[in-house]
Amino acid sequence: MYEIIAFYIFSALSIGMFAIVVLSKNALYAMSALAGGMIFISGFFFILGAEFLGVVQITVYSGAIMALYAFGMMFFDTTRDVKENIKNKKIAYTLSILSAILVMVILCAPFFSSAIQANYPTIQNAGNIQMIGLVLFTKYLVPFELASIMLLVAMIAGIVLASKKMDIKVETSNESQVVKEVK
């Protein structure tokens, strides 16, 4: 019972939050809503017994990623409403609804319900974090290491890209001229 209530509340909240993200004109609102949505998503993880992931979701998404976005936003003018030339809304809605339905049909189709054998079954008498640790450092060790390298690379790339000539205010017009000349 508790689970049902939690599920519906989280669902409503996350859907609402994400809808704001998608529909809002103000970038600041959108970002705040996204951060909220992320946290509600982590709620699902907790319900589903994936505590570790829930925590990771909060720290990485709501913490790190949102912080990054927030810093990023400082470069842009966020007080103004985002001016967008939005065309063909109907197509967008139709397509997304269509794809949602199709995905649903596929996912809920009978073949899915046929028995699937667990490759890495949950281990009895162990907490979620222990289980993840066991699998992560045995079967998924190499991808895990690769992921760490990827993160390192991404970090360096982010710094290099964003910090290049950070101290110099680039004249927009000059730069575009340079770009044109290069072309």
Partner: protein, 100 residues
């Protein structure tokens, strides 16, 4: 009782919201946000399946997706800032150099 189907329906809804964002928004930052929504939707799906079938792979995938999302944001934002510094705009309509 909340079944897997419930979760899948939810994932579908979230995913379609993400899709709407991807298609509708032309501001690049907003596009990034929408992408995050898509990733999150999928993550929920993975974890749900993982839970209902008692298989840890789903959680592992979700975990890696989060890692990928983090690096994507790091690099993506860097690029975005660079672009903004050059063009003063992060509107999609301003980058059409790939016109065929």
């Amino acid at each position: 009782m909340i079944t897997l189907t419930h979760y899948l329906v939810l994932v579908g809804i979230l995913f379609s919201i993400g899709l709407v964002g991807v298609m509708r928004r032309t501001n690049l930052l907003m596009l990034f946000f929408s992408t995050e929504i898509l990733l999150n939707a999928v993550n929920v799906g993975f974890v749900a399946v993982s839970n209902y079938y008692g298989d840890l792979s789903g959680q592992m995938f979700a975990f890696f997706i989060i890692a990928v999302a983090a690096s994507e944001v790091a690099v993506g934002l860097g690029l975005l800032i660079l672009w903004y510094k050059r063009n003063g705009s992060i509107d999609l309509n301003s980058l059409q150099s790939m016109k065929g």
